[in-house]
Amino acid sequence: MKRVTAEYFAIFREQAGLGEERVESNAATVGELFAECAVRHGFADPRERCKVAINDELVAWETPFAEGDLVLFFPPVAGG
């Protein structure tokens, strides 16, 4: 069981009703962690269209995370 801080942006923040939360999880990767958070908060965007960062660095969904990490979940982007 690892404890991390999950941070949500844009529609994820609105759907979760909060910008960040402390999460405890047995997930092995940030992809698994995202799946847990998505179920809990009703995130509907498919993972392939979203992005994840650990401590301000974009990473692949298969990346493991460590106790105390800051994990950022980004819904589909729309700059410009």
Binding site: I11, A16, G42, G80
Partner: protein, 157 residues
């Protein structure tokens, strides 16, 4: 070369003048403006949310790629954050080169990558009072509806 996130209106004249270079024969600029329609809906305003540190980092990665890939002299990108009115500039990309073809190609590459890769989200506010995050599914519906509505006074329906 730099990428910046701006909280005040972008001034294309100042941005352009900062790129003047005696070696440059061509300058290409792209500006993204807030337009009054999107996908058949009448838009009255936009809100951009930006993760600034990562947006700048990824934006400068895009510019570095463009400088390596095309025969250009310099490339700069500015993107707005916050609330924007119709016709306001959301993004500015400027590229200088000795010969024009490279500036066109690099500018196009940069704006395409900026839009696809930077952690920037766009919320549209519609004439009918509705709103929605562009490219996202099931905006602010279901159980999150109330949290959303209480946060910014807008809801999808």
């Amino acid at each position: 070369m730099h990428c910046r996130i701006d909280h005040e209106p972008l001034e294309s004249d100042a941005l352009r003048s900062a790129m003047i270079d005696r070696r440059a024969g061509g300058f290409v600029a792209f500006e993204g403006w807030v337009r009054d329609h999107n996908e058949g809906r009448e838009v009255v305003a936009l809100h951009y949310e930006v993760h600034e540190r990562l947006a700048i980092k990824e934006g400068e990665r895009v510019l570095t790629e463009a400088l390596a890939r095309f025969e250009i002299l310099d490339a700069v990108c500015h993107h707005r954050s916050g609330d924007l009115a119709l016709t306001e500039m959301a993004v500015w990309v400027g590229v200088t080169s000795r010969h024009r073809a490279a500036a066109f190609e690099a500018c196009r590459y940069i704006i395409d990558e900026i839009k696809a890769r930077l952690p920037i989200w766009k919320k549209e506010f519609y004439r009918d009072g509705d709103s929605g995050w562009v490219n996202c599914v099931g905006c602010a519906q279901g159980h999150a509806h109330h949290a959303h509505a209480s946060r910014d006074g807008q809801s999808r329906g």
